[in-house]
Amino acid sequence: MSAISRANAQLFLLWLKRDVKSRYAGSSMGLLWAVLGPVLTIVLFYVLFAFVFQVRVPELAREQGYFYYLLAGILPWLALSEGLSRATNALVAHEQFLQKQVFTVGILPGTAVVAGLLPQLFGSVLYFILLAWADLLQVTTWLWFPLMLAVQLLFTLGLGMALSILAVHVRDLVHAVPLVLQFLFYATPILYPLSMVAEEYRFLFLFNPFACLIMSWQAALLGLPLDSSVLVALGLWTLLLGAGGYALFRVLKPTLGEAL
């Protein structure tokens, strides 16, 4: 590694540490809030959809099957939606700072995305324990988990970086992105299985990159069947959003100094 990339790697880690620390520092319960938010969200959805709406997952026909299904999708979703929202705001929020300090700009959206990943990793450990308990843990999961994580990271990093620089020029994105993500949450099979959707509409989900990612996660974690078209679409989306987003960031990066 060259000296510059080593210095950047170090800066990335230090900035990530500060980002995570400062998010919860100062509040008396500290990290507890970081856990409480997602846990309450998950409990709410579980109660609402498993008991009130009586959603069942036919592919996972067993007691509390819905619970495991919900977690498989919502854990990566919370990470990527938090990461993307924060990445969009990352450069805008540091405008003053970037004027006054020479800085490797990509680190700001980068750490925002990676910081969003930490609760997912923590949650996944608990999830794996629950799966093992329920005798649902597949051998293949051990293989798929790091692979899916890499795909998700690539996907969200590229997209997050592109959004962060676009938001400098189009401020509205800071408000629009969380809203669009909220909408996409319901357009992604997280709360419901795809099999509940009428067959002739299922192809539409291929156009939702998040749906492709989440369905692949569910398949990887629970060993559910997955249509090969979803995997192909996920590959294309990852290339487009991950590599494309990063390329767009590189192209637009010089415009940051012009806009500041």
Binding site: R6, A7, S22, G26, G257
Partner: protein
Amino acid sequence: MNRPFEAPVIRLEGVGKGYRVYERPLDRLREALTRRPVHRTHWALRDVSLDIRPGETFGLVGENGAGKSTLLKLVAGTLRATEGELSVHGRVAALLELGAGFHPEETGRDNVMLMGAMNGVLAADMATYYAGVAEFAELSEEVLRRPVKTYSSGMFMRLAFAAATAVDPDILVIDEALSVGDLHFQKKSLDRIMRFREAGKTVLFCSHNLYQVRSLCSRAAWIDGGRVREVGDTEHVVTAFEAYERAKDAVEPQAPSLDAAPRRDAGSLSPVRLVDVRLETGDGINPAFIDAFQTVRLVIDVESFEAQRPFHVGFAITRNDHENVFGSSTHFPRPDQPLMGLGPHRVSVRFPELPLLSGDYRLSIYVLDDTGLQVLDAAEGIRAFRIHQRRREFGLVYLPHVWESENGHGA
């Protein structure tokens, strides 16, 4: 060090930095959609061409908002020029704002580490860097383990300055950061800049402290309204800037009458009251312009309403920026002889060859009690006058002096 034949490390050619200004936020969107320009461009910097050579210490002077900081940011690379060519050769460390990137909740230690990482200090060198910063900032390990928000502003600035300059760049860019902390620390900061200079590094900085610019820089540029007004030898540039500043300050003097002048509220009920204040010169009474080295007489009329009350009269000459130039009072000589007695009194002060140099001045007159502590009546900032001076000595007042030279001394 001035090495004119070396290629410049920093070169600007016709550099400009413009900002698009939109009347309404929606105009930005409209422009993007219709592609019809609806913005105005505000130029923070325009047409700037400068060559800064290796090893040079180059100063920027100019008023607030002239574009000095923008120029420094362009060189540091945090901003990009809208037009023109800018090239910088070598590693740049920039101190554009003290403590940019410091987080108040984090400890001094963590902030220093991050600052080091931002300036490209590698993990292997971090311990050395950290020790160097701590030593220069004169903060103990106990202090550095505390969050930065608990620091005094002096401690904070010392740490920020130390962290930003404890690196080894080829070019150091500093914005107004050389006058932080107490005198002791200011000296240390300047010494550090001097060491950079002696090591042959290039230093580019701006300062409002013209004395610093004079003593540190070999060359300087005066930025005015986003353009380079003068560039070259420091003394030449700074003197031109000073002259401009003075000319701008020297607004038409108005002479408020005694009645219009701000008076202490005790005035009308006071046992001793100011009645009139006059300046008399060879050219008449209360002239707006006075030639330097004329004899000037200050005449103060007061009226006492209490026969048994002793009082004193004092005056102060102040510059238009309220700086006191000279003041005296009848209670200063020992033993003092207070004035006393019912009715009008006249006190006058004669200034033989008034040694004030060019500038705008005002008078403040005080009537004081016998202790000299209580103000019985006062008129402050009245009788504005301007001194015109034809000789070449500069400053506030003329100091008597004799030039001496010795031939063959120390041969």
